[in-house]
Structures are given as structure tokens and as C-alpha cells.
């Protein structure tokens, strides 16, 4: 198992380097100078040159990359072109709402999706149809529209949850923290829930038809134990793997929902920086988001390996 984790880490490092390179060179594609883009149309050439010099943009591209990467490895992603704030600090301050939302929603969809998929596959008939219809409906509702609906019903009409904003877990306590996250989590989970429930249904249907189910029955193992110990474990392997694949889309949803619920997260930071042509923050943001994806996938790899010994040798 330790060797497995080390091997996965060894793959993750070059992956991150490549993503870092992509996020750096992406900015190099800007037609004209970033400095000109920041200063706008009214700037004189002289102002542009001065800004370029102060940002280090007059250096050759490769040496810029080397410098940026070297600093990035030390946790320094440079300063924001517009506010002058350290990019690492800005990202670190906004990471908590983003991760809370993404991780809680992923766990929720995984657990509820497994339960729904299992019910659909095992009970069949009406339960199956019900799960399929609700899942299909969930997948068809755009998360931003669902978010607006939830705000209207639960915040404006019923006043059960705050419509917008965020409370720190550390300073404000768990109650306010979670109550600010309930609506965003539901809005974010609806689409993925359908996806995961369908995957779970397929995985359970497959596991239920495997020969070992018959072997276990034939040795006298009761039905419930076959289902909850053996079928559940085998079926969760592909479902957990798919959760990893859909996580990148969950992060996309987080960006959208942070805007609606005005959560002070990385998504809103990115959107602001995009509007302000703040390239250094955008660069750092892409790197941060990719880091989250790689780490989550690492956790998922380890989880599947813990569930299924065949994964460990791959």
C-alpha cells in the first residue's frame, strides 16, 4: 500500500509541473503585451514599457518561467498586477469556502448516490424508475438556476438559510458555517447526484450478477450480508472512481455558485481577476485549482486501492 501511494505521488509530480507550465504559458498567448491590456487603451507606450519592466515582462520567456516556477515551488506566486497583494496570500484567504463547498458536496453526492443507485438496482421496479426519473431531472437543471430557486424559496420566502455570504468555521463556529453552505451544496450536488446514482445503479447491477454472489449464498451467507458486505464494496469501486472524474466539473460548478451566493472563494477571486486582466492571479488560480484536482484524485486512488486489492498492483 505504501508503495502504491508513492507510485501515485511519482505520477502526480510531473503532472503538476505540466499543469504549471500550461498555466504559465497560457498567459504568453496574450496578443500584445499584458501590460497594455492592464493599462487599457488610453495608456502611452512609455507607461506600458515602465509597467512591463516593473513586472519583469521584458525578460525572455523561458527565464520568466524559470523564475516563476522557482518562486512557485517556494509558495510565492508573485504579486497581483492590479492590487499588488501577494497572489499566494489572496488564494490562501479564499481557499476555505471553495474547498468546503467542493468536498462536502462530493461526499454528499457519493453517499446519497450510492444509496439511490443501490436501491434502484436491488429493488428494481418502481424504486428503480423513481430514481431514474429524479436523477434525470437533477441532471437537467442548471445549477445556477437551481441556486436562484433555492434562494427564492428557502432564503427569501421561508428565511431558513442565509441567501448569500459565508461564515468562517474557525471564528464563527460550525452552525453559521454550515447554514451558509446548505443551499450552495444542494445546488451543486443536484447535477452530480444524478450522474453518480446512475453509475452506482450500473455498478450494483453488475456486482449483483457476479458469480461470487452465488458462491456466498451457496455457503450459507445470508442475503443481507452478501449485499452489505460484498456487493456494496465491489460496487463502490467504480463509483468512487467516477466521483474522481466528475470532480473537475464539480469545481467548475463551485465557481458559478460562488458568484450567486457571493462566497469569498477562489472562484470569485478568479472571476474578478479575469475581469481586471490580472494575469498573475489567474495563473496562480489555475495552478491552485489543478493542485486541488490532483490531490483529490490521489485521495480517490488510495481509497479505491483500499477497497479493491486488484487496483494496488496496477
Amino acid at each position: 500500500m505504501t508503495r502504491f501511494v508513492l507510485r501515485r505521488l511519482a505520477v502526480a509530480v510531473p503532472l503538476l509541473l505540466i499543469v504549471a507550465a500550461i498555466s504559465f504559458f497560457l498567459v504568453q498567448l496574450v496578443p500584445g503585451s499584458p501590460a497594455a491590456a492592464i493599462l487599457g487603451n488610453t495608456a502611452t507606450q512609455e507607461q506600458v514599457d515602465t509597467l512591463e519592466q516593473s513586472l519583469g515582462l521584458d525578460q525572455p520567456v523561458l527565464s520568466q518561467f524559470g523564475q516563476w516556477l522557482g518562486h512557485a515551488l517556494q509558495g510565492n506566486l508573485g504579486a497581483s498586477y492590479t492590487t499588488g497583494q501577494s497572489v499566494s496570500d489572496a488564494l490562501a484567504q479564499s481557499v476555505a469556502p471553495t474547498l468546503s463547498l467542493a468536498i462536502l458536496s462530493t461526499l454528499l453526492t457519493l453517499v446519497v448516490g450510492l444509496v439511490l443507485g443501490m436501491a434502484a438496482a436491488v429493488r428494481g421496479g418502481r424504486t428503480d424508475r423513481l430514481v431514474q426519473w429524479t436523477g434525470s431531472l437533477g441532471m437537467a437543471i442548471p445549477n445556477f438556476w437551481l441556486a436562484a430557486l433555492l434562494i427564492f424559496v428557502f432564503a427569501i420566502k421561508l428565511s431558513l438559510f442565509p441567501a448569500i455570504g459565508y461564515a468562517e468555521l474557525g471564528t464563527d463556529g460550525i452552525g453559521p458555517w454550515i447554514s451558509h453552505l446548505v443551499l450552495p451544496i444542494i445546488a451543486l450536488s443536484a447535477v452530480n447526484l444524478g450522474q453518480i446514482a446512475f453509475q452506482a445503479r450500473a455498478a450494483f447491477t453488475d456486482a449483483l450478477s457476479r458469480d461470487y454472489v452465488r458462491t456466498l449464498h451457496a455457503t450459507g451467507v445470508p442475503r443481507r450480508r452478501v449485499l452489505y458486505k460484498h456487493v456494496l464494496r465491489n460496487a463502490s469501486v467504480p463509483v468512487v472512481q467516477v466521483t474522481g472524474l466528475t470532480f473537475i466539473f464539480t469545481l467548475g460548478g463551485v465557481v458559478v455558485l460562488e458568484l450567486i451566493f457571493t462566497l469569498p472563494g477562489m472562484g470569485n477571486l478568479m472571476l474578478r481577476s479575469v475581469q481586471n486582466h490580472d494575469f498573475s492571479v489567474v495563473q496562480g488560480g489555475v495552478l491552485y485549482f489543478s493542485l486541488v484536482v490532483v490531490l483529490v484524485n490521489l485521495v480517490i486512488d488510495v481509497a479505491t486501492a483500499a477497497l479493491d486489492p486488484r487496483v494496488r498492483v496496477r
Binding site: L15, V19, S23, L26, A140, F144, W145, L149, N297, P309
Partner: protein
């Protein structure tokens, strides 16, 4: 946002009954399946909605009652009216006109990622899947990188870099999602690369690209179309998100995501704004997803029956419980029910499966036999004769949709009347099963020790140390000397023969008196086959087991059997002691099987086979079921069902021409040709 990297088996198999237990459902071609689907109302509604949306977007300029940008400041946030059918927004612009104008660019732009993903994924996937090696490893790494990229965030970055250039952003999105198409094409190419016809094409000197295009692409076309559809629906949802965020789309022109954004600013004073655009979006995505999933359901898949037992055992209704042959039933039981020397008695067993029409189709039709202590009874016959279903019915382990009637008595106790809970207590401790595919018969997630230990604990209890000791004892009993290390292994680390030994140990863990073995050696190498048969024989002798062995191989019967029940089309056609059966079969089908044994083959002479095929249960005739393939059949054979007839004290045969058969055998042995 939804993606289509893994096919979700959405609408597949809802309430559809299985055509044949345990076998892939026969399916038509992709094209016929699509033609069939077009007759379903839900599909037509979904298709109709998509067409409506596309047409009205194209004709928006003509259809829209107002200029989508014209402001009517006196009618801001007005509800639906005769002038403004769906009401107006905060600047008094007509909502209906804005919706009509707001979908076209989205629908069109969502095509770009699909095209890009195809252009990248298909050729690269085919090439890399065909050549393999380093190119494959490299492409795989690139796809892993793509899967680690948060699509929306990167497209955000691209939007700032390209100054909100929508085509460029969609191309980048297409590149990121092309990994799914790539993997699909590569897997399919790898699978067909080594097929015979591809080999033949390669040998005959056809160029590589011709092979790929002509032979491999058609195989993957169906799944590709489905995947493209789901990808389009995902891209559409993605682009509405972008439009909601105010990216990529001209802020002056209406677009659907932006309409939701505008509406969300007026949740407290005009919630109605949300309704029309929400319904349009949901209906469009739902229709696209539904069409994609219905397409997916048309792809051929092998849907296997569930093997988990139902909480309540299904019961055959009385009219189905009789099977199809009412006469000749009540075959004499071989022994008294309570005779401890005869642990298993099966009488008039009928196994039926539910048909799609709601009726019952028998697959086992009035089978009777008894097994003595220390005796091996072989159920012999070709595939599709009902041997396995007979064996599984004795344990109450029929696949989903199956039910049994008649009588199965274990040590005098009627098993068919037991509830599932009572049956679970009988299984393992009194009657146990060894199945055909040893690798699949073990749960891949648990070690041998854990699986075997669980069963030991279930039947005997005891401390952890006692259980562990018993596990090792059982493993040594089935001829595994290095029990310690095998116990620690996981099923995928075992060889087929080793796995089958573990399965036998599992079956013996509860110390049953009857062992049912369903083709226990078929999946194994010939040398291993002999070892496993030897093991079964010696276990049977030392433990005094009654053994029911299902096989299609008369060699196995000769090797290990005491009594043979030859089965054909759901019935026992001959029941006889094995040595007598092999010396002089009394049913033409037994004779045919015997003639087809490779052991008796003469060099240079083609191996005789029984011409024709076992009829499917639905095609069983109302007379002798073997008549269509029988060299001795006469008109009398087609007059009605043939009962089991006694030919000797301990032999029965379902044939009216046994004398004729005996005569032809005599002629053959004396060497005189008639």
C-alpha cells in the same frame, strides 16, 4: 455541468424482463434499434422539443414579436400580457423575444467542442490503439493531464487571454474533454486489433489506415455517436454556465445563461422572470440527455441476471408447476424420503422463467433422480439442456426470474417449501455448490482467509485462532500444502486450479452431506482438470459425500460417475449406471454423445457429431424432443410425448426405439454392416 466520460446506463433495462436466464439478451443492429426507438412517444416528444428549439432559434428574427433589445421603460418587470406574452425584464425588454434570440449561438457553439473532441480523439485513439507501445503510453499520459485540468477554470483563463473569444474558448474545452472519446476509440481498437479478420487483412498486405478505417471504425461507430450526443449536451450546459458568468458571449445580445443571471437579480421583486427561461433550459437539457441515454440503451450490452436471492422465494403458479408433460409424471422415486442413505431426492422438478409477456417458460421439465451417500450422479448433456438450472434449483439459487416446483428433498426435508431464511441455513451446512468459473466465484475484494474464515465462523463459530486453524485445515484438506501463504492471497493472485481448490474448501467449510458441482473442471487446463477430479473423488470417499456433478463431457462421467442422468431439452432422457450407459446406451442421444467423444476418435476420420442443435425451450415440440436430430426417428416418435420407460431393472430411457438401437449396436460390434 455534466460530462460523458463514462456511459451512464440511464434508461436501460427499466422493468424489462430477461429473455433468457443467464444469457446475453439478443439485440438487433444499431440501426434497427434506432428505428424502433423512433416509435416510442417519449423519444418523439424529446426529439420534437429539440427540433422546435433549433427551428425557433434559427427563425428567431421572424418569430420574435419584438426586438429583443427594444426597451419599454414604462413596462419594466411587467408580468405576461397581450403585448408581452411572457412579460418584460428590468428594462422593459420582451422576455419571449429574448428567449427566442438567446439560444442560437449557444446551440451552435456547443457543436465546436464535440467536433474538436472527435477530430482529436478518433484518429489518435485509433492510431495509438493499433500501434500500442510508447505512443500509447505517451497519449495515455497526456489524457491523464487533461483529466487533471479543471475545465471551467482553464476556460476562464483562456477568456482573459483571448479577450473573451468564444470560438477559441470552446476549442480549448473540446481539447480538454477529448480524452473521453480518445479512450473509447483506443479501447475498441485494441479489442478488435487482434481479431481474425483484421489479422487476415494485415497478412494480405492492406495498408494500416485502410484496416483501421474499414474494419475497426465500424465497430466503434455506435458508441461514438452516443458519446458525441452526451458530449453535446454537456457542452451545452457548460456554455450556459459561461453565459451566466458573463463570459464568451456578447453582453449586448441576449443569451440563456445571461437571462438567468439578470433574473436572479430580481428574485425578491419579480420571481416570475426565472420561470420561462428555467423551463426552456431544463426541457432542452433533459431532452438532449434523454435522447443520448436512449441511444445508449440501444447499444448491445450483455445484461446478466441478478444472482442475489430475493427476500421471498418465488413460487410457480399451479398451472406452470406441472411443466409441459403431464403424462409420464410421478416417476418412481428411487428411495423412501427419510432414508439417510439417500440424502438427495429430486422428483418431477420443474424450473420456469418469467417470459417478457408475463407467462412462464419451463426450462427444466419434470426431472427426477436420487443420489446415494458416497455416490456420484452425473447430469450430462449439451449446453441448454437444463443441467445447470436443475443443479441450481436444488440449492434454491436460480437466477432472477426463475422459480421451481415439484420436490427436492434433502435428508427427507422438502426444500422447495422452505423460506429464503430457512434455505440459507440449509445451504453450506447440508448442501453446497462448486461452480464453473473459479476465478469469478471468489469475491475479488477479500482475501482467501477472510472469505473462508467468514464461512467457518458462520457454521461453527469459535475464536479467531480456532477459525484460523480451521481455515488452514480446510486448505490442506483440498490439497493446498502452503496453506498459510494461500490464505493471505487475494483471488486475483491465484491460478485457476488453486482458485478451484479454494472454492471446494469453501463448499466443504460447513460440512455438507451433498455437494453439487456445476462443470467444476470446464474452465481449467486439462492437467489441472484431472487433479481436481481426483481431489473430488478422494474427498467423496473420505467424507462419504453424495455428489451431483454437472458436465457435458462423457470423459468426466466415465472417470468419476456412478450413475448418469442424460438430459436433453429440459428432460432426463436416460438414467443408468455409468458403466452400463457407456457400454450400451439405450437412448439415441446418449449414443450420439458417446460417438462424439474425442477419446474414441479414429485418426483421419472426422469426429462424428450429433447434427443439429438443442431446441430452445420455446421450440420444444409436443412429442419426442430429440426426434428432429434422431437417426432412428419414425412417425410414431412424433405422435406424442414419450414417457421414461424402464429398459432394465435399474435403467430408464425416454425412447420407444430402444430395441432398434440395441440391434444397430450389435451389428456395429460384430462388424457386420447391414
Amino acid at each position: 455541468m455534466t460530462t460523458a466520460t463514462v456511459p451512464a446506463h440511464g434508461t436501460q433495462g427499466v422493468g424489462e424482463p430477461l429473455a433468457q436466464p443467464g444469457r446475453p439478451r439478443p439485440r438487433g443492429s444499431f440501426a434497427t434499434a434506432i428505428r424502433d426507438a423512433l416509435h416510442r412517444p417519449a423519444i418523439l416528444i424529446a426529439l420534437g422539443w429539440v427540433v422546435l428549439v433549433v427551428v425557433s432559434s434559427v427563425l428567431a428574427g421572424v418569430l420574435a414579436p419584438h426586438d429583443p433589445l427594444a426597451q419599454d421603460l414604462d413596462n419594466r418587470l411587467a408580468g405576461p400580457s397581450a403585448t408581452y406574452w411572457l412579460g418584460t425584464d428590468e428594462l422593459g425588454r420582451d422576455l419571449l423575444s429574448r428567449i427566442l434570440h438567446g439560444g442560437g449561438v449557444l446551440l451552435l457553439a456547443a457543436l465546436i467542442p464535440v467536433v474538436v473532441a472527435y477530430l482529436l480523439g478518433v484518429p489518435i485513439g485509433m492510431f495509438v490503439g493499433y500501434v500500442g507501445g510508447r505512443a500509447d503510453a505517451l497519449a495515455d499520459f497526456v489524457v491523464n493531464v487533461l483529466f487533471a485540468i479543471p475545465a471551467l477554470v482553464v476556460v476562464l483563463a483562456v477568456s482573459v487571454v483571448t479577450d473573451n473569444n468564444l470560438p477559441f474558448m470552446t476549442v480549448v474545452f473540446g481539447v480538454i474533454v477529448s480524452g473521453g472519446i480518445f479512450r473509447l476509440v483506443r479501447a475498441s481498437t485494441q479489442a478488435s486489433r487482434d481479431l481474425l479478420y483484421v489479422d487476415a487483412a494485415r497478412v494480405s498486405g492492406v495498408s494500416r489506415w485502410t484496416i483501421l478505417l474499414r474494419h475497426i471504425l465500424p465497430n466503434v461507430l455506435g458508441p461514438l455517436i452516443v458519446q458525441g450526443f452526451l458530449l453535446y449536451s454537456g457542452a451545452f450546459l457548460f456554455l450556459t454556465s459561461l453565459s451566466f458568468l458573463g463570459l464568451g458571449f456578447d453582453p449586448q445580445q441576449p443569451s440563456w445563461g445571461q437571462l438567468v443571471f439578470d433574473a436572479s437579480a430580481h428574485l425578491d421583486d419579480d420571481p416570475w422572470l426565472m420561470v420561462p427561461i428555467g423551463l426552456v433550459l431544463i426541457a432542452t437539457v433533459a431532452a438532449l440527455n434523454y435522447l443520448g441515454n436512449s441511444l445508449l440503451a440501444t447499444l448491445p450490452t450483455a445484461r446478466r441476471a441478478r444472482l442475489l436471492t430475493p427476500p421471498r422465494r418465488p413460487v410457480l403458479p399451479p398451472e406452470a408447476a406441472a411443466g409441459t408433460v403431464p403424462e409420464g409424471r410421478r416417476t418412481p422415486a428411487a428411495a423412501e424420503p427419510a432414508d439417510t442413505d439417500v440424502p438427495l431426492v429430486v422428483e418431477d422438478l420443474v424450473v420456469s422463467f418469467r417470459t417478457p409477456e408475463g407467462g412462464w417458460q419451463p426450462v427444466v421439465d419434470g426431472v427426477s433422480f436420487a443420489v446415494h451417500r458416497g455416490e456420484t450422479l452425473c447430469l450430462v448433456g449439451e449446453s441448454g439442456c437444463g443441467k445447470t438450472m436443475t443443479a441450481l434449483a436444488t440449492l434454491g439459487l436460480l437466477p432472477e426470474g426463475g422459480a421451481a416446483a415439484g420436490s427436492v428433498r434433502l435428508a427427507g426435508r422438502e426444500l422447495l417449501d422452505l423460506s429464503e431464511r430457512e434455505m440459507a441455513q440449509v445451504r453450506g451446512s447440508q448442501i453446497a455448490l462448486i461452480s464453473q468459473e473459479p476465478m469469478g466465484a471468489l469475491d475479488p475484494c477479500f482475501s482467501v482467509r477472510s472469505q473462508l474464515g467468514d464461512v467457518v465462523k458462520l457454521h461453527r463459530g469459535g475464536s479467531r485462532a480456532e477459525v484460523r486453524r480451521r481455515v488452514h485445515e480446510l486448505l490442506r484438506l483440498v490439497g493446498i500444502p502452503n496453506a498459510e501463504s494461500v490464505a493471505k492471497s487475494f483471488p486475483h493472485q491465484l491460478s485457476g486450479g488453486m482458485a478451484q481448490r479454494v472454492c471446494i474448501a469453501l463448499a466443504l467449510a460447513g460440512e455438507p452431506s451433498v455437494l453439487v458441482a456445476d462443470e467444476p473442471t470446464t474452465a481449467l487446463d486439462p492437467t489441472i482438470q484431472a487433479e481436481i477430479l481426483d481431489l473430488l473423488r478422494s474427498l467423496q470417499e473420505t467424507l462419504g459425500l453424495a455428489l451431483v456433478l454437472v458436465t457435458h463431457d462423457l470423459g468426466v462421467v466415465a472417470d468419476i460417475g456412478d450413475v448418469a442422468a442424460v438430459m436433453y431439452a429440459g428432460q432426463v432422457v436416460e438414467l443408468a449406471p455409468v458403466d452400463e450407459l457407456l457400454a450400451a446406451p439405450r437412448h439415441p442421444y446418449s449414443q450420439g454423445l458417446l460417438d462424439a467423444m474425442p477419446e474414441d476418435a479414429v485418426r483421419g476420420v472426422p469426429l462424428p457429431t450429433v447434427a443439429g442443435m438443442v431446441p430452445l425451450p420455446k421450440d420444444w415440440p409436443g412429442w419426442c424432443r430429440f426426434a428432429a436430430r434422431c437417426p432412428l426417428a419414425v412417425d410414431a416418435c412424433r405422435e406424442g410425448p414419450v414417457p421414461l420407460l424402464a429398459v432394465q431393472a435399474d435403467r430408464t430411457s425416454r425412447c420407444i426405439r430402444t430395441d432398434e438401437l440395441a440391434r444397430s449396436q450389435e451389428l456395429a460390434t460384430t462388424g457386420v454392416t447391414p
